[in-house]
């Protein structure tokens, strides 16, 4: 296991480096640059553009820029945002918590609810409950997150006035302590609800399909013949066997939680990573974009290793050597 971990960490690191280099070229080769945006649309002076370019090192050949970037990275510095003129790490840290509040909460909720409903539907295949749940899952699965978010805003904010339409806190009130927490919770309901609803069908369908398979396994007949309670067989044996694909799916989802969910964050004006990335793309903020992509790729690399480890614990047939 130790050797395997070492090998996986090494390939993970290599992946991150390849992604970093590829991203660097892609971002810099894309049309437009941050200096043009900084200089403004009206009457930009060529002199200003040249000076700013030199200041950020953008006048140098691209491989030199890459080398400079890697050197600062090795010092543990993600660089400075060109547009916002602040350290990239600071910008990311500000948004990370907000995004995790949204994506992590909804990822866990979707896992629990989706799996529970999948189990409920599997207990009686073809029953009314199964049919209704499958239909709902089908509808939710085909629903874009931003549209669902808008509909929820229309219904619960505009019409019923139960929840705020957008933001993370009430900007007019400056709450502290419990009141602040409650305020954030109130603002969380709709965006978390949206992300949870569109996340549920995946887990629902995986659980259902996996259980349909597992319930036909031969050990069911043996345990039944041995007089074991059907409930016990289901709880102990079927569940453990059926949950394996869910572990993979959930692990992959967790790898991306720090990237946020751009469309839903935009609809709900949530100050998270997704929106940070969107604005960085729009303004060609090279260092910020690189920083966010780097953090995401590291997260994916680490989570894939964690998923593999957890999978080996859950399924004894998988052993790494």
């Amino acid at each position: 296991m130790g050797r395997y971990l070492g090998k996986r960490s090494l390939t993970g690191l290599l992946t991150v480096i390849v992604v970093l280099v590829l991203n660097f070229f892609l971002i810099h080769l894309a049309p437009g640059d941050p200096i043009t945006i900084l200089a403004g649309m009206d009457n930009p002076s060529q002199e200003l553009i040249d000076i700013t370019k030199a200041k950020y090192g953008l006048d140098k050949p691209i491989y030199v820029q890459l080398w400079t970037y890697i050197k600062t990275l090795l010092k543990g510095d993600l660089g400075h945002s060109i547009i916002q003129a602040r350290p990239v790490s600071q910008l990311i840290m500000e948004r990370l918590g907000n995004t995790l509040l949204l994506t992590l909460t909804s990822a866990v909720l979707a896992l629990v609810i989706g799996t529970a409903l999948g189990i409920a539907a599997s207990r009686k295949p073809g029953s009314a409950l199964d049919n209704v749940l499958s239909l709902i899952a089908y509808v939710l699965y085909s629903m874009p997150g931003f549209w669902l978010g808008l509909m929820l805003i229309l219904l619960f904010s505009s019409t019923l006035r139960l929840f705020p339409t957008s933001g993370m806190v009430d900007a007019r009130a400056s709450y502290t302590g419990i009141a602040y927490v409650l305020d954030v919770l109130k603002h969380m309901v709709l965006p978390v609800g949206t992300l949870t609803l569109i996340g549920i069908p995946g887990y629902f369908r995986i659980t259902k399909a996996s259980l349909a398979q597992v319930l036909k396994d031969d050990y069911n007949t043996l345990f039944l013949a041995a007089g074991m309670d059907e409930k016990k067989i289901f709880r102990k044996y079927c569940f453990r066997n059926a949950i394996l694909p869910t572990i993979t799916t959930f692990g992959m989802r967790l790898a991306y939680v720090i990237a946020g969910s751009a469309t839903v964050e935009i609809v709900f004006a949530w100050p998270g990573m997704g929106r940070l990335v969107m604005s960085a793309i729009n303004t060609r903020d090279y260092p910020l974009l690189m920083g966010v992509y780097l953090v995401t790729s590291v997260s994916v690399a680490v989570w894939m290793i964690l998923v593999d480890i957890f999978y080996a614990i859950a399924d004894p047939r998988i052993r790494y050597s």
Binding site: D218, Y219, L224, A225, A226, K236, R240, P316, R317
Partner: protein, 324 residues
């Protein structure tokens, strides 16, 4: 032979599977009895209803199956007893060794853990140590080391898993063990070993057993009595040394001619031309008539009843008791 108390007796058992296009008649009017200490083999081709009959005895059939008739296990009617009685009976009195032993344990739980769970169904307060002690003995009977208990099923070979299944079936000292194609998936060498272990169980531990197989030689090696099944019907039932030596039914004759004999002259294997009939259709005459080399007019008109030949055999054939 008939004086002994019957352990299991089936009377006119019919098992049908309901499908949208009609009922599949998997077992038709099966009448059979088994006395304590007896060993019965049920042979037949794939799809002849042998496994359905075995699963029917433990009420393990899917909900689409309709079972009629009477199945008496000692004084319990297996078809009509309540869930509690059935649950108490399962494994404690009747145990099964299934065909696909490689898959008959959960792949993500240790063998020992699953066996402890099965043991605790009837002895809830049993400790792991007690179960392991009991298993150690049973595993030694089938020539397995007890370390298999701490392994996962995928770490064991098919033959080892089959042996585990056999020792697991004996854990509560059941009165009846059904071996459902228990050696079919094994290679001949392993099959030979497992069969000799089954034979030992029968003689040393006096296990009453039903052995279901499509291999006549397996029955010849391990059973005292045999039932030959075709298209859901028990065509010929009787002592092995009669049925397999001088078969009365044309189907049994055909089945025996399909197997090579190790001793004696080499002869052409004959096989039986044709295939199993459609089990959904209600046959007009004898189910075997379309393939029977000796079929005559009456065979195409009605299914023959089971006739006692007076030598301990029952045969379903119009040739019996008529112009033989």
């Amino acid at each position: 032979m008939g004086e002994k108390q019957n352990l299991l007796s089936l009377e006119d058992v019919c098992i049908g599977y309901e499908t949208p296009t009609g009922t599949v008649r998997a077992v038709v009017n099966a009448t059979l009895s088994l006395s304590a200490g007896d060993t019965l083999g049920i042979v037949g081709e794939s799809g002849s209803g042998k496994s359905t009959l075995a699963h029917g005895i433990l009420r393990l059939l899917p909900k689409t199956a309709v079972v009629t008739g009477r199945m008496m296990f000692q004084d319990v009617d297996l078809l009509r007893c309540d869930a509690k009685t059935l649950k108490d009976l399962r494994w404690k009195d009747i145990a099964v060794v299934f065909q696909k032993s490689m898959n008959s344990l959960s792949p993500v739980h240790k063998v020992g853990e699953q066996i402890v769970d099965i043991y605790r169904v009837h002895v809830p307060q049993a400790t792991k140590e007690e179960v392991y002690d009991r298993m150690r003995h049973l595993l030694s009977v089938v020539n397995l080391p007890d370390r298999v208990l701490d392994l996962y099923p995928h770490q064991l070979s098919g033959g080892m898993l089959q042996r585990i299944s056999i020792s697991l079936s004996l854990i509560h000292q059941p009165k009846l063990v059904i071996f459902d194609e228990a050696t079919t998936a094994l290679d001949v060498v392993t099959q030979g070993q497992v069969l000799s272990e089954i034979r030992r169980l029968q003689s040393e531990m006096h296990v009453t057993s039903i052995l279901i197989t499509h291999d006549v030689s397996v029955v010849a090696e391990t059973c005292r009595r045999v039932a030959v099944m075709y298209a859901g019907h028990l065509m010929e039932v009787g002592p092995v040394d009669q049925v397999l030596v001088s078969p009365r039914h044309p189907y049994t004759q055909g089945l025996l001619a399909s197997f090579p004999s190790l001793s004696g002259a080499r002869r052409r294997l004959r096989g039986i031309p044709g295939t199993l009939p459609d089990l959904k259709a209600e046959p007009k005459g004898c189910v075997f008539a379309p393939r029977c080399p000796k079929a005559f007019d009456r065979c195409h008109e009605s299914m023959p009843p089971a006739v006692d030949t007076g030598t301990g055999c029952t045969v379903k054939c119009h040739l019996e008791g008529s112009e033989r």
